[in-house]
Amino acid sequence: MSTETSKKAAGRYGMTIDIDRCNGCGSCMVACAVENNVPPAESGATDRTGITWIRVFQIDNGGRGAEKRSAFIPMLCQHCGDAPCVSVCPQQAIDVNPVTGIVEQMPERCLGCRYCMVACPYHARYFNWWDPAWPAGMEKTLNPDVAPRMRGVVEKCNFCHGRWHAAKQAGTSDSLSAYVPACAEACPTRAIRFGNLDAPAADVALGSQDPDSFRLLESIDTDPKIYYRSKKKWVREAANAPRPGKETPRG
């Protein structure tokens, strides 16, 4: 499947995530929040109202005691080649960058209708339920390349667009090839790889061809650009089972 789907993939940038290498340390989530100026949680926030552009879910094989095995699945915007969210936005606050294939969110144009969140099957979109707030002094540590968002708008992973922009400004070809999102950079186990899906030599391109690699919800033709991989059969089955399992995720 992966050969022809990867041909289908529009744009260039994509990810491979090796589930067998992810131990759920959470570095990607923290690095992402730091890079993209996502504020710490409001006291009332929960795992359903928080903002985690990349979020690591824990799944298990449903076994008990010694039989039980679990695995971690980092979820982020899948940067679908045929994104369900783009067409629904009433004011073009979402667009797909034709060069990079990155699905970009423009919070400064977002009205906060949350229609895109309803449209996204991966639940990779997050709404600012609170005014963003940092502890006194911590605002000094904000990343100058990313503008903080205001209350009432939707935001999501954009493959650290700020970094891509900086790399483009730098102009040199190797600056662009060195471009990598914060999560991939931070991953201690190198489970997350990032690169150009079209460049045959790139390890993401190779990873996407891996027989053990798969994409989430391929059956609904969103053509995501995040390829997951696991040698464990139960993981592959649990990750794209035909019907949602009843076990509750811990992530």
């Binding site: 690095a31 929040a33 710490p40 824990q58 010694a66 400064e108 005014d131 940092w134 502890p135």
Partner: protein, 569 residues
């Protein structure tokens, strides 16, 4: 002509129509948009020249090399130089601004108080032993014949040499060692993880052996027995056959097992320490472990908590204090720890505010010397225990780092790694000042691998008071966490990826029995006391046990395998 009402209307209408042809209304529209883009109260990130600074993370003994992306002087993000960092290290540049940071407290008052008590029965508790500062402490204590208290981890493991690694609940893959090291070597050894629940190490381990919390020693004893009888079977056989192998953990049997496996001197060695001036060694007090200290013997206790990589439950410390008005002075950055008990809590600078060196690693057998250099200037009024204690004993400690670097350079062994340019320079062809400068620029000195037997230290026995009891639940303790940035809510609160320090996790059945619900509040009770906690209901937790977070509050009342009880608040 006198203006009628009609003419007024006409004027108004005309004005409105005319206004549409001026830029004003359109400009107004655009401005509301702009205004709503930077809502009042949304901070504007500070712009400035982007530059990289190099340092080493001082949050734990792994001492990862760190590249800090700075705007001007201010670090805005941290990244590992060789491989990724743990989440705590990644956001450590937030720590100076942590809401729980301790700001009040006067060192001079504390000094006066200590002077009043006199140095008779004084002790200094070092929670991050093995640093240059630790040597300063030891010299100080020697000078005023006080006691230097520390719980040094004696072993280092050669991950590149080991083939089979049996770990009893040691978070080998998550926080125990330098991630870059560990995962570089991960492919070469077979990891067997023995622990009650599948931790993030267990997930990536080659084998996970679930065990009832508190019964790990059953396995270790079995292994020891079969090794002693000479016909190893089961796990023991696996260890013997797929050697070289080693066992990690703090169970009493483990040193003997490692000895029998022949790991000592090969796989498991003493933590390699960078050279130290002979003069220091001569004038240094010996390392005393808290457990070995007679009860009610400490009159004055100084605690170096600011750079702590460990936390000792307060009741163990309290037992050692004299009954009538003991004096406890802690140097700390947070209000959460011993500051709750100490007579004086003195605000101290934290990583990345201070110049400090990193204690020897436990995942490598080559000595190394790394500096954690200040990235931001600490707030005014921060005290420093080395100087404080030094003043008591008249020991000049302020320059000790420089002295030690001088000593390393004098011996002239090993090489200097500079991450900025990725060069390796043999130390001998390097001037002393350049060496010092390079270290301050985030360089690392690495010595030759030494294979020396570790000191035959037995792990401290767990005081029985904690584990006995008839309470329904058995605690599964989290390994100690470094201090976390506020952004860690991403892992604690906005997802349940990690167990928040003030949280406990229960199986649904136990939660029902205790009458607590997911996300609710509860009280954790043990023999030692009680502590308010938040509850996560988690089917992954075995029934009859409770996962407890690693906040000082919880650690004070609930150690590993302690019997506990949860009641709804």
């Amino acid at each position: 002509m006198k203006p009628s009402r009609r003419s007024l209307f006409q004027f108004a209408g005309g004005a409105v129509a005319g206004a549409l042809f001026t830029p004003a209304p359109w400009r107004l529209i655009t401005d509301t948009a702009l205004w709503s883009e930077n809502w009042p109260g949304i901070p504007r990130p500070r712009r400035g020249e982007i530059r990289a600074k190099f340092t080493h993370c001082a949050l734990c003994t792994a001492g990862c090399a760190v590249r800090a992306r700075c705007v001007g002087e201010q670090p805005v993000s941290l990244a590992g130089v060789s491989g990724g960092l743990c989440p705590f290290g990644l956001a450590a540049h937030h720590l100076p601004y942590h809401p729980a940071r301790l700001k009040q407290g006067s060192a001079s008052e504390a000094a006066a108080e200590v002077a009043r008590h006199g140095t008779q029965g004084i002790a200094l508790l070092d929670l991050n032993p093995g640093r240059t500062a630790s040597w300063a402490y030891r010299r100080t204590m020697q000078a005023i014949n006080g006691t230097y208290l520390a719980e040094p981890e004696p072993f280092a493991v050669d991950l590149r040499g080991v083939k089979t690694l049996l770990s009893f609940g040691v978070p080998v893959l998550d926080g125990w060692g330098n991630p870059a090291n560990v995962f570089a070597a991960r492919g070469s050894f077979h990891l067997i993880q023995v622990e009650p629940i599948e931790s993030s190490t267990g997930v990536l381990a080659d084998e996970w052996i679930p065990v009832a919390p508190g019964h790990e020693s059953v396995i270790s004893q079995a292994i020891l027995r079969s090794l002693q009888q000479g016909n190893p079977s089961g796990l023991a056989r696996q260890l013997v056959d797929n050697g070289p192998s080693a066992v990690l953990g703090d169970l009493p049997e483990i040193p003997e097992i490692n000895r029998l496996l022949g790991a000592y001197g090969k796989i498991v060695v003493a933590r390699p320490e960078a050279p130290v001036p002979e003069s220091w060694k001569k004038s240094a007090a010996s390392v005393t472990r808290l457990a070995d200290l007679p009860d009610n013997s400490v009159r004055v206790l100084l605690i170096d908590e600011a750079s702590a990589v460990d936390y000792i439950p307060w009741h163990r410390i309290a037992r050692k204090l004299v009954r009538e008005n003991p004096l406890v002075v802690t140097f700390t950055a947070t209000r959460g720890g011993y500051a709750r008990y100490a007579n004086h809590a003195i605000p101290a600078a934290v990583y990345p505010e201070i110049l400090d060196d990193i204690a020897p690693p436990n995942d490598r057998i080559a000595a190394s010397f790394r500096l954690s250099v200040p990235l931001v200037t600490p707030p005014a009024g921060m005290a420093n225990l080395a100087e404080f204690a030094g003043a008591l004993a008249g020991v000049q400690a302020s320059n000790s780092l420089r002295e030690r670097v001088g000593e390393i350079h004098r011996l002239g062994q090993g090489t200097l790694l500079t991450y900025a340019d990725g060069k390796e320079t043999p130390l001998r062809d390097l001037p002393g000042d350049d060496f010092w400068r390079a270290l301050n620029a985030g360089g690392e000195w690495v010595g030759e691998p030494s294979r020396t037997d570790p000191p035959s230290l037995q792990p401290a026995p767990v005081p029985s008071a904690e584990s006995t009891g008839d309470l329904p639940l058995v605690a599964i303790a989290q390994p100690h966490n470094p201090p976390g940035s506020p952004i860690m809510t991403k892992l604690y609160q906005e997802s349940n990826l990690r167990l928040a320090p003030n949280r406990i996790a229960l199986s649904p059945a136990d939660a029902r029995a205790a009458g607590v619900r997911n996300g609710g509040r509860a009280v954790l009770q043990t023999r030692l006391g009680k502590c308010g906690v938040e509850v996560t209901v988690d089917p992954a937790v075995p029934e009859g046990s409770v996962r407890v977070g690693a906040s000082p509050g919880i650690q004070d009342v609930c150690g590993p395998a302690a019997r506990a009880k949860v009641v709804s608040a």
